[in-house]
C-alpha cells in the first residue's frame, strides 16, 4: 500500500474533483430551441383531448377492469337465488311423475 492513505491530500483530491465537476464543458440545448418548444406547444394544443385516462387505454387494464365489473355486477347473487328457487320448488312436470 502506498503512502496515499497517509498523505493529507485526500481533501485536496476531493476539491480537485469538485473543480473538475464544475469545469465540465457547458451543456447547452441545440440551436433553435425556442422553435421546437413552440412546435410542441402547437402540437399539444391541437391534440384531441382524451376522455379516458392513459392507463385505462392499455388493453390489459381495460380487460382487467371489465372482468372486475363483471365480477361485481351482481350476477353471482342472482344465479344463487335462481338455483335456490329451483331446489325449493321443482318444475311442475316432475310432480306428475309416479313415485317409485
Amino acid at each position: 500500500m502506498s503512502d496515499i492513505i497517509n498523505r493529507p491530500g485526500s481533501d485536496e483530491e476531493w476539491e480537485d474533483l469538485m473543480r473538475q465537476l464544475r469545469n465540465q464543458p457547458v451543456a447547452q440545448p441545440r440551436p433553435f430551441f425556442y422553435a421546437r418548444v413552440q412546435a410542441r406547444l402547437v402540437a399539444s394544443a391541437g391534440a384531441p383531448r382524451q376522455w379516458l385516462p392513459a392507463w385505462l387505454r392499455q388493453p390489459a387494464y381495460a380487460v382487467l377492469l371489465g372482468a372486475l365489473v363483471l365480477a361485481l355486477s351482481g350476477d353471482g347473487p342472482a344465479l344463487t337465488s335462481a338455483a335456490a328457487r329451483y331446489h325449493a320448488s321443482p318444475p311442475s312436470g316432475l310432480k306428475s311423475l309416479p313415485p317409485r
Binding site: 500500500m1 502506498s2 496515499i4 492513505i5 485526500s10 483530491e13 476531493w14 474533483l17 469538485m18 473538475q20 465537476l21 464544475r22 465540465q24 457547458v26 451543456a27 447547452q28 440545448p29 441545440r30 430551441f33 425556442y34 421546437r36 418548444v37 410542441r40 406547444l41 399539444s44
Partner: protein
Amino acid sequence: MAYSLPLFVTSESSVCAPVSASAADEDRELVAQLQAGSEAAFRTLVARYQNRIYRTIFSLLRNEEEAEDVAQEVFVEVHQTIGRFRGEASLSTWLYRLATSRALKNRRKAQAKKRFAYFTSLLGGNNDVLHEPPDHAHPLALLEGQQQLQLLLAHIARLPDQQQVAFTLRHEQELTYEQIAAVLGTTVAAVESLLFRARQTLRKHVQAPLRHV
C-alpha cells in the same frame, strides 16, 4: 426514497434573497406579461432560462436527447400553467422545481422501461442484450483524470433522489443553500444534511480506490 415536487409554490421569504433585486423585478414583470398571454414574454423567458434549465436536467439525466425533451416539456408546462403561478416563490425557483421533478420522473420511467425490457428478454421475447453490459474496468483503471470524474458521475447518479438534486444544484449549478432549500421545499438545515450525506457517500466510493494504490 420517492421524490416528488409539488406544482404549487410555497411562501419562503429566503427564496428571493440570493436573487438580485433587479433580476427579481424583471422576473415579476415577465410573469405578469406571461399571465397576460404575451408570446414575446414567453420567448424572453425561454431565452433567459433555457440554458440553466437544460443544464440542470442534463446533469440529472446525462443524456442530451432526454435533456432536450424534458427541457421542452418544462417550458410547455410553464406556458400552460403560468396562470396558476402566484409569485410566492421566485420564477427561477419554480422553474428549477419543474425541471428537477420532471427529470427525475423521466429517469424513473426509463428505469421501469429498462427493467420491463430486461424481463421480457429473459422470457425469450427478444435476444438483444437490453440490460446494461457490466463494467469490467477495475477501479484502479478509473483513477486518472477524466475517468475519475466519470466514476464520480456514475456514483452521483446512484444517490437517492433528494441527495442527487441537492448535490447537483450545489456543485454543478452553484445554487446557494437557500435556493436549493426553496427548490426542494425544505429547510437549509435539511439541505446541509442532504449534502453532507451525499458527499460522504461519494467520497467513500470515489476515493476508496485511491487507498489501494
